[in-house]
């Protein structure tokens, strides 16, 4: 009986020691929808939740839409309004996916690894598949993951007046950085 209890205790403990899921609540997502007509639609959210499972390569992000901070308060108001992100109805945006070529990354060795990420981005109540290149940098115990890609606002049913008028880029650039 004692041996069984000891075995179970060791099993549970080993689960914690070798836990591969790393998380942060301070990942950053940058959003740049500036155009030649308007330099204001640009924002950053610095309180994004992210997780990375170094064993399976699973990646996930969750961002509060109201957490995107614009320099211009009027622009922030428009961004959260019904013609754009409608943050009252759709308060969060999320991504779930995986590193496709995980074998390329050695999480125990310092270095910079170029990877491919694929998954689903859910925003404005619409879920769409996305694929992007990403860079994983391992330095000591820290893992830095970053990616830059474009999304089509129309894919997420975002077609407000400012988008149609060309004041907001139809394909804004998304910058993601997470330090685990």
């Amino acid at each position: 009986m004692k041996k069984t209890v000891l075995f179970v205790a060791l099993l549970v403990a080993s689960g914690y020691v070798f836990a591969q899921k790393k998380t942060t609540t301070s990942a950053i997502i940058g959003f740049d929808a500036t155009t030649s007509l308007d330099a204001l639609p640009k924002a950053e959210n610095k309180t994004v939740i992210a997780s990375l499972d170094t064993k399976t390569g699973k990646l996930a992000f969750e961002a509060s839409v109201k957490g995107f901070n614009f320099e211009n308060p009027k622009m922030q108001e428009h961004f959260n309004g019904k013609g754009w992100m409608d943050s009252e109805q759709y308060p969060t945006a999320s991504f779930t996916g995986s590193i496709i070529n995980l074998a390329k990354v050695n999480f125990t060795k310092d270095g910079t690894y170029n990877v491919e990420v694929a998954g689903y981005l859910t925003m404005h109540g619409v879920k769409q598949p996305v694929e992007s290149r990403a860079v994983i940098t391992v330095k000591g115990a820290a893992i830095n993951a970053s990616s830059k890609f474009n999304i089509k606002l129309s894919d997420y049913s975002i077609n407000g007046g400012a988008v149609a008028a060309g004041k907001v880029s139809k394909e804004p650039v998304i910058n993601v950085t997470a330090v685990f």
């Binding site: 309180t47 997780s51 969750e62 509060s64 109201k66 211009n72 943050s87 308060p91």
Partner: protein
């Protein structure tokens, strides 16, 4: 007959148009150069204790969001964690019974103040409450704050 009546009609229209254009340009300039106020100079609409504030979100997320989202709030509590990077210094207060947390992202000009804080410090932080939500990644509730400053 006044002097204004002597001005030809076309000139009067041009003058009116010029005034409209100037007012329009002033409004556009004002809207385009508008910035958020410095949080340190804005009065808090609510002053709350971190753990009881989190309990309000736990009890009724929708109600708490209606009450607090987009409002300037001062939160008193103990620092549970600091997540620091080159361009950020996010401070966290948490409910140790269930892992729920509040995270404060500091306004750029107040970042140096945030970097002086330590885990365990009792502090009052003022900022704009973005909203509360449940994280399916962390399986807990969280509330995010933007444009924060230490409430002195």
């Amino acid at each position: 007959m006044t002097a204004l009546n002597k001005i030809p009609v076309v000139k009067k229209w041009l003058f009116t148009l010029l005034i409209i254009l100037l007012v329009g340009a002033a409004i556009v300039w004002y809207l385009f150069t508008l910035k958020h106020d410095d949080t340190a100079t804005v009065k808090a609409q609510f002053t709350v204790e971190a753990v009881s504030f989190l309990k309000e979100f736990e009890n009724d997320m929708n109600l708490a969001n209606k009450k607090y989202a987009d409002k300037m709030i001062a939160v008193n509590g103990t620092i549970a964690e600091i997540e620091m990077a080159d361009t950020t210094a996010n401070i966290k207060m948490s409910d140790t019974t269930n892992g729920a947390y509040i995270i404060f992202a500091f306004q750029q000009q107040h970042l140096p103040d945030a970097k002086t804080l330590k885990v365990g410090d009792k502090v009052s932080i003022k900022g704009v409450c973005s909203n509360g939500a449940f994280s399916s990644i962390l399986e807990t509730n969280y509330v995010t704050f933007n444009r924060c400053a230490i409430n002195k």
